[in-house]
């Protein structure tokens, strides 16, 4: 391709770097801190109605009848809708459309939406929801995935295989041979209890239908939603509402956190749209915090049985994984989750051979979906603890064991994914050095310990959610004669800073400070299509598209200046709001004049850049594209813990986080992603648990931010972020992802540190005090029986 952005990236790398790798004020932070920014619930429209969704109190029930007459009779109630108003099923994955906007015949979990109202105010809407009479025929609830797979009672009416949501079996190489020939086989069973995203902003959506004027008589439906996937929402709204896509505009206002929890359509978006279409007035629905917990789509519970073979010197000869995934009531991204539970495990270590068997079951629980580190945080916990057990059994330092299995750069994984740059060894070195591992690990007393873990993650997926060969990202950049730039991108800034990332690239290429760049994003009427904020795709994919557009403009501007100065174009660079002659730096002009010259030569300065993924980097087998990425990030953590043997409380003092992000385009933003990730993993290791109670009909025992226990300022450890840069030729300026990878090692690093501290293996999450005390008890009994030597040589008292 004539305008290869990767070629340009290399060219760009040796000129200015006047923005790249610096620290930046985010383009949109100050107005958030002044309280000016309008998030979705801050929108106010004339005539706004308030919507509310009536939810099932039963985990599994047939809907016999719904009587809305009493609700409609209440003054101030404008409309009521039920599942019958949304007969077309949808699903974020096109192959598994297994949910309706509101339940049609059956409610599948406590909290499933069955009807919705629009009324003049929230209190009237609540009154109307209470007045809707639903007659249910209650069915037995199935809460355990094994039980559900064995049952004849099918949960999801759209399922084609009973309660089996998805099954994947893949084998690479000779696993039985690898295990039978191994010097050591480590067997373990691990359980990851589900967790949820708990973004501080609850889901919210507003819809309005405008008629007449440019909207035409058919009208234009605008939906403002706190979503991280405007484009997919746009498509599903069109399908379910039977409104052509060109008559729908989706706008994502500034977003108050997502973490995967807003990455598919939710009932409220369909409901506000339908209610606005019926009433002709704008309608808003804001979830209560309780509704956010029930809507969930969080991390799947997984029961993982692992056998891992090692040679005498600690090389992995075979990995055999068997995973049962509890999916909840709907598919969500479950097809992908089931693949990811096995496919994303095959790096940074070279597996001699590998087999995984993963099954996802429907249960009568809130549906699980993608949470930061989708599908691969759970198996990463299992494999990294397996490695630690092997290190102990073989008498090898756990960091050294990982080094021996490192696959290096340019490797092909056992499941045929092409790895590019690889900074994993450097990550290990950095955390080893920063934590004082070598000196301190051998000298920390009983009760205190250090643990290590590593991981890898994708920088976006090579194939989009719905099959198409169009670019995965496109960005439009316009320059104006005042010397400023506007960037139009469909990508969703969810707080991770993607708008700032785009401004950094445009600033670097066009010599502009960030305050001269306005980024308009995630508006389907204004911006090119982008697939959204998921799978850590934005920096690499949208960054490349932006670089493509910005570089085309740079060439035009530099060319126009070179022509007038009568110098070769390579002598002109753009930096600090100026065009400068590199060989005679005293010769420079204001950037606005340079833009004007370019506009004289070329007409209005606007360029569209696009990016598509390489299609030659995946496995040649069914499912071999799922998990294949243009580039992979690498991470290593060391956690330092203290275990109180009286109370069972585990305190994490510090987590050192080294992450290979390829190239840090903006250092503090990258650090913020690393710290936020490590925090979230820490939270899952010790505190968080998203469960329902089968003994109380499947209700959530803790649907509040107090009872669910997310870490406060006081609970959170010191987080030391160490940026490692192994530039990848696929990324813009070499950049890879930083938003999800750094979560993965937190949990196993803490698990391994607990072992180092007190000699216990906690194979079920979270590592709560009762589990710690029980394991300590067992350890003491084993020591007393002479089955185990005292840990760290310290004789412990028996209970």
């Amino acid at each position: 391709m004539p305008d290869d952005p990767h070629h340009d990236a290399a060219e760009a790398a040796d000129h200015d770097n006047w923005q790249l790798g610096g620290t930046h004020r985010k383009v949109d932070a100050m107005e958030r801190m002044r309280g000016i920014t309008r998030y979705t619930d801050d929108l106010k429209l004339p005539g706004l109605l308030h919507g509310k969704i009536k939810r099932s109190p039963h985990a599994h029930a047939r809907i016999v009848s719904i009587d809305t007459s009493r609700a409609l009779a209440i003054a101030g109630v404008h409309a009521v809708v039920t599942g019958r108003d949304f007969p077309i099923p949808y699903g974020i994955i096109p192959w598994t459309p297994d949910e309706n906007a509101l339940a049609v015949d059956k409610a599948l979990y406590v909290g499933d939406g069955v009807a919705a109202v629009a009324a003049v105010d929230e209190e009237t809407a609540i009154e109307a929801v209470d007045a809707i009479e639903v007659e249910y025929e209650v069915l037995p609830g199935l809460f355990d995935p094994e039980e559900s797979l064995a049952s004849d009672l099918q949960i999801n009416p759209y399922s084609r295989k009973g309660n089996l949501s998805k099954k994947v079996e893949l084998e690479f190489g000779d696993v039985e041979g690898g295990l039978s020939g191994a010097h050591l086989v480590v067997e373990g069973e691990y359980f990851f209890e589900g967790t949820t995203h708990a973004a501080i902003e609850p889901h919210c959506a507003v819809a309005h239908v405008e008629r007449g004027g440019s909207a035409g008589d058919d009208g234009l439906l605008t939906v403002w939603s706190a979503t991280q996937v405007s484009h997919y929402l746009h498509r599903e709204l069109s399908k379910v509402l039977e409104v052509p896509a060109h008559r729908i505009r989706v706008i994502q206002p500034p977003l108050g956190g997502a973490f995967g929890g807003k990455s598919e359509p939710f009932d409220l978006e369909f409901c506000v749209a339908k209610l606005a279409m019926i009433t002709g007035r704008p309608v808003k629905i804001l979830y209560t915090r309780e509704e956010v917990f029930y809507s969930h789509r969080g991390r799947h519970p997984m029961l993982m049985k692992y056998r891992t073979g090692f040679s005498r010197d600690g090389k992995i000869t075979a990995v055999d994984a068997n995973t049962l995934i509890d999916g909840g009531a709907y598919s969500s991204f479950g097809l992908v989750t089931t693949y990811y539970s096995g496919q994303l495990l095959c790096s940074p270590y070279d597996f001699g051979s590998y087999r995984f068997h993963s099954r996802r079951a429907y249960t009568n629980k809130p549906a699980c979906g993608p949470k930061r580190g989708h599908g691969s945080v759970q198996p990463r916990f299992a494999i990294e603890v397996q490695l630690d057990k092997a290190a102990v059994a073989l008498g090898v330092d756990p960091i050294e064991l990982r080094r021996r299995n490192d696959m290096g750069e340019g490797a092909k994984t056992v499941n045929e994914f092409q790895i590019g740059s690889n900074g994993f060894l450097e990550c290990l070195r950095r955390v080893e050095e920063a934590s004082g591992w070598k000196e301190r690990r051998t000298t920390l007393p009983y009760g205190r310990g250090l643990g290590v873990a590593g991981s890898t993650y994708i920088s976006g997926t090579n194939y989009p959610i719905y099959p198409n060969a169009m670019p995965q990202a496109a960005v439009q950049v316009c320059l104006d004669r005042s010397g400023r730039a506007r960037v139009f991108s469909g990508a969703n800034d969810i707080g991770q800073g993607s708008n700032t990332m785009l401004a950094v690239i445009v600033g670097e290429e066009l010599g502009l400070p960030l305050e001269d760049i306005r980024v308009l994003s995630a508006d389907t009427d204004l911006c090119p299509v982008d697939l959204g904020a998921y799978s850590s795709r934005i920096t690499l994919m949208v960054g490349n598209a932006c670089l493509d557009a910005a570089h085309r403009l740079r060439r035009k501007v530099c060319g126009a200046v070179a022509k007038r100065w009568e110098v070769p174009v390579r002598r002109v660079t753009l930096v600090e709001r100026k065009a400068i002659d590199i060989e005679d730096p005293d010769r420079h002009i204001d950037i606005a004049e340079a833009f004007s010259w370019a506009e004289e030569d070329h007409g209005l300065l606007g360029e569209v850049g696009s990016y598509n993924t390489p299609k030659d980097r995946h496995g040649d087998y069914r499912g071999g594209t799922i998990g294949a990425s243009p580039a992979y990030s690498f991470t290593s953590h060391i956690a330092e813990v203290e275990v109180d043997e009286e109370t069972g409380v585990v305190t994490v003092g510090t987590i050192w986080v080294a992450h290979d992000c390829g190239r840090a385009l903006s250092r503090r933003i990258v650090e913020g992603q690393m710290e936020g990730s490590a925090y979230m993993g820490f939270a899952e290791a010790l505190m968080e648990q998203h469960i329902v109670d089968p003994d109380h009909g499947g209700v959530h025992p803790a649907p509040s931010l107090l009872d669910y226990r997310i870490p406060t300022f006081i609970d959170t450890p010191q987080l030391r972020s160490l940026i490692v840069e192994a530039p990848d030729e696929q990324g813009p300026y070499g950049a890879k992802e930083a938003g999800e990878g750094p979560l993965h090692p937190s949990i196993p690093a803490i698990a391994n540190a607990i072992y180092d501290a007190v000699g216990i293996r906690l194979d079920s999450l979270p590592f709560s005090p009762p589990r710690v005390l029980q394991a300590l008890e067992q350890r003491r009994a084993a020591e007393a029986a002479g089955e185990l030597a005292p840990h760290k040589g310290t004789a412990r008292r028996t209970a």
């Binding site: 801190m33 309280g35 998030y39 501080i200 707080g495 503090r668 913020g672 710290e675 925090y679 972020s721």
Partner: protein, 183 residues
């Protein structure tokens, strides 16, 4: 329609301005600020006192607006994030430090955190420490940052604010003062 309760006339100072507004006696201060007075800077994350996103100051003390009835503010001084920079030339040193440290990711919890942090730095007669920041902000949840950059920013802002104090204290000798320079 729900039968409205008799409204009360609430007289309150908000961000230094006297405000009179008719409020339902069961409405919270957060509802009145956000939905009647369009002061949208205070956020609703849980509506039950768990997350701290709605933190405002009442008579200088951080309070949860979602757990405070609006009528409780009668005759008091309420400060929201919109009033934080009053007297600081449009940007409070905490806001500037948060901006420099990229301490706001999604920014949804940030207004509440700023209101808690301002009370801490105002009441502490010296630069604040990491444990002090953690204790003072323990009622404010943030889900994005891992808290690290927020702590860095608060400490940094408090240092700068005290550096400014020292400059001001010793300003008699300072030729940089415009008045002194004019003489």
């Amino acid at each position: 329609m729900s039968s409205p309760s008799p409204a009360s006339l609430l007289s309150v100072r908000i961000n230094g301005e006297p405000v009179q507004v008719a409020v339902q006696p069961h409405h919270t201060l957060l509802e009145v600020l956000r939905y009647q007075l369009d002061l949208i800077g205070s956020k609703q994350g849980c509506d039950k006192g768990d997350c701290g996103a709605c933190t405002v100051q009442i008579d200088g003390e951080p309070q949860l607006a979602c757990l405070t009835l609006a009528i409780h503010a009668e005759g008091r001084d309420v400060t929201t994030v919109e009033g934080l920079a009053t007297g600081h030339g449009g940007v409070h040193p905490l806001q500037d430090a948060f901006d420099r440290w990229d301490a706001a990711q999604c920014g949804f919890c940030t207004p509440g955190i700023l209101m808690s942090a301002e009370a801490l730095v105002r009441k502490t007669p010296r630069p604040v420490t990491d444990p002090e920041v953690r204790a003072a902000l323990a009622g404010n949840l943030c889900r994005c940052t891992g808290y690290t950059k927020i702590i860095d920013a608060v400490i940094d802002a408090s240092r700068l604010m005290h550096t400014d104090d020292e400059t001001a204290d010793g300003a008699g000798q300072a030729p940089t003062r415009p008045a002194a320079a004019a003489q």
